[in-house]
Amino acid sequence: MVNEEALFFSRILTELTLSFHIIYATIGVGIPLMIMIAQWVGIKKNDEHYILLARRWTRGFVITVAVGVVTGTAIGLQLSLLWPNFMELAGNVIALPLFMETFAFFFEAIFLGIYLYTWDRFENQRKHLLLLIPVAVGASFSAVFITMVNAFMNAPQGFELVDGQLVNVNPIVAMFNPAMPTKVAHVVVTAYMTSAFVLASIAAFRLLKGSNHIYHKKALSLTMKLGLIFSIAAAIIGDFSGKYLAEYQPEKLAAAEWHFETEGKAPLIMYGVLDDGEVKYAIKLPFALSVLAHNDPTAEVLGLDKFPEDEIPPLYIHYLFDIMVTIGVWMVVLSFVFWIGMKRRWPFIHKKWFRWLIVLGGPLSILAIEAGWWMAEVGRQPWVLRGLMRTADGATSSNHVDIMLVLFAGLYIVLAIGTIVILSRMFRKNPVERELEDRAAEKGGDPR
């Protein structure tokens, strides 16, 4: 028997917590790598600016980690609280990566503590940089392990169900399911991409707000270059994700592409609206869906007509897919133009309007992350474990989920405001110019 009200509120609360956590988690995965690169460049070039860049990013990072940790703790417990039936089954088969994730956190947490409190403690800067490697590795592996769990939800394997009993469980096979390679790679790379563009956005913003310091220019050029690399990688791996879907979750792809009838030479539908089952105002790219799905312009792509009515995911995921892909392509173009512009000394990349576009890039990337996750998760519905357990059967039977939803919504508002206030105060009170002077004065050098 399903408690409809508990189910409804459990879904909303899960969506809310995950959508909030993912912002901090993405930043938490990507920023350590960016700090590492900046510090490394700084040491290589013996350039104080890059070192300071790493230092200031670290300070902001600590704040986002804190919120990432507490919201992650929330979702970790909530999975059991809101989806006890699902977690009972999942615990039997996919607990291994979940467990290993805690080791990754542990590793990250320990070295982050050390890294934070050992600035300038070593004669040799490289030693300090070494301490950052476990932080970056730990953060990325958290993402790898948790995404393995999510991949399992999309393509469960590694066990058999006989009369409702789990037999022949193989945790390793469950971990390395067909959804895993593309999903893990796409999630990790988009986290790097988003972090790079968020940092670029901050640098561009400071340049717009009157500071013309070379420090910000170096930051901007470094992060845009990194963003270019990772956004190209994201698009390529995204293409592979589409091929994965065509093979293993064709209903998700068909719903995302509004592909109603099974056919060959399938066109890709971009944008448009759905009006009474009819697609209007859309751009149709001939053959493109067949290419996305099978790398062959004539290949047949399964349409929604092949699936029972009650197993078709909500069709609005098409809009989410469009948002994600549009932003992905846009960010590749933007960072590419910036890169060429730097090389060729095109003056317009230093114009105000162009910098505003870069400022916009950070929030847009985060929006793409949200849209991507919503597409992937809503596209899995009605299943929580595809083909095995319906979302409705996984939910709690408890009656108080609605109050918890209100409490947690309040919590996230407080945390969001706290983060914004603290981060902006932290950097406004201590602008780069002043910090550079202070540091030079400390060393008795020439303040310049």
């Binding site: 940790v69 609280l81 503590g113 469980v169 945790p171 603290i422």
Partner: protein
């Protein structure tokens, strides 16, 4: 030893780790708030901040490790405890979240906010209280099965003296553990004033801790006679634990070897904690769930244990490094150098 016992032993060990590390953390927050209130701020704040700053995130991981591990080793707990704990656990999460994030906001963002110190200190007392409810529920008598789903009887829970004694014990223990540790830490930092103050707090909280702990055993006799009988079988462990308690108090009273005093305290709590755990065996939730019917399949158990051992090989050296740099590094502890980013 069978896999069930190995699994619960691993988890219990991490829970013990959490109890000790988090108690120091929660208690320190409270003492800090109290010292702001009573005008002794300058004495304690430095000591407390020096210890807490590098380790706060590690503390949280102990807890995460425990609840993720429980679902891994004993998936049925997700069904039982997941269903009944929705409200109490959500409240704990909320408190943990406020506390953790505002700690970071204050430490790395804007130092010295007064209202914040109160919130931080107070939430540190509410968290152990709300977490300790889980132990009470595990004693049975508050959960019934309706239509195949477990349901928690809140009225019975909150009107039971057992609940409130466990809450009081958790508070007293937090303050006691934390005071003893900070006495030692302040002494290492050569901060005489702080040492004396913390010593006083340690002696103050020793008595309530031991009295409530004894009281709970007596109450169990009425609430859960089966568990009580098993506790009596293990009386010698509890007696040993009590002797260690006496040892700690004696050392602190005579201002002798605070390091050993903390060692004895850890021993006291370890003995009592494990003895309590053994006497609880085999139940995870009286009388609905034992470690045997809640256990995962063999393949998963073996892979979890393997992952655990591999993980430990990575963690123990790292933890050692952390402790060496911050707990045992003379210069750092004495505050002679500041390497804040």
């Amino acid at each position: 030893m069978n896999l069930e016992i190995l699994g619960i032993l691993v988890l219990w060990t991490f829970l013990f780790g959490y109890v000790i590390v988090a108690s120091v953390d929660f208690g320190a927050g409270f003492f800090n708030a109290y010292s702001v209130y009573s005008g002794k701020k300058h004495i304690l704040t430095n000591i407390i901040q020096r210890y807490l700053s590098p380790v706060w995130e590690v503390t949280n991981v102990f807890l995460v490790f425990f609840f993720v591990g429980v679902v891994g080793f004993f998936p049925k707990t997700a069904f039982y405890y997941g269903t009944i704990l929705l409200v109490p656990a959500s409240i704990s999460i909320l408190l943990l979240a406020i506390r953790g994030s505002y700690y970071a906001f204050e430490t790395y963002g804007s130092r010295g906010h007064k209202g914040y110190a109160f919130m931080y200190g107070l939430s540190g007392l509410f968290i152990p209280a709300s977490l300790s409810i889980v132990l009470t529920i595990s004693e049975g008598g508050f959960v019934s099965m309706v239509d195949g789903n477990p349901v928690l009887d809140y009225w019975a829970l909150f009107s039971s003296p057992l609940t409130w004694s466990i809450v009081v014990l958790s508070l007293a223990a937090v303050l006691y553990i934390s005071a003893v540790f900070l006495t030692w830490y302040a002494h290492k930092a050569k901060d005489t004033k702080a040492t004396e103050l913390m010593r006083k707090y340690a002696l103050l909280w020793a008595f309530p801790t031991i009295v409530t702990a004894g009281g709970i055993i007596v109450e169990l006799r009425f609430h859960n006679p089966e568990h009580y009988a098993r506790i009596l079988d293990l009386w010698w462990l509890f007696a040993l634990s009590f002797l260690m308690f006496i040892g700690t108090v004696w050392l602190i009273w005579n201002r002798k070897n605070y390091g050993r005093a903390f060692g004895l305290l850890a021993g006291q709590f370890a003995l009592a904690f494990y003895a309590y755990g053994f006497s609880h065996y085999p139940y995870l939730l009286y009388p609905h769930l034992t470690i045997y019917d809640g256990f995962t399949n063999k393949a998963m158990a073996i892979s979890l244990v393997t992952a655990f051992i591999a993980g430990l090989c990575l963690l123990i050296p790292s933890l050692y490094l952390l402790l060496r740099l911050f707990l045992f590094d003379k210069k750092y502890v004495e505050g002679k150098s500041d390497y804040h980013p």
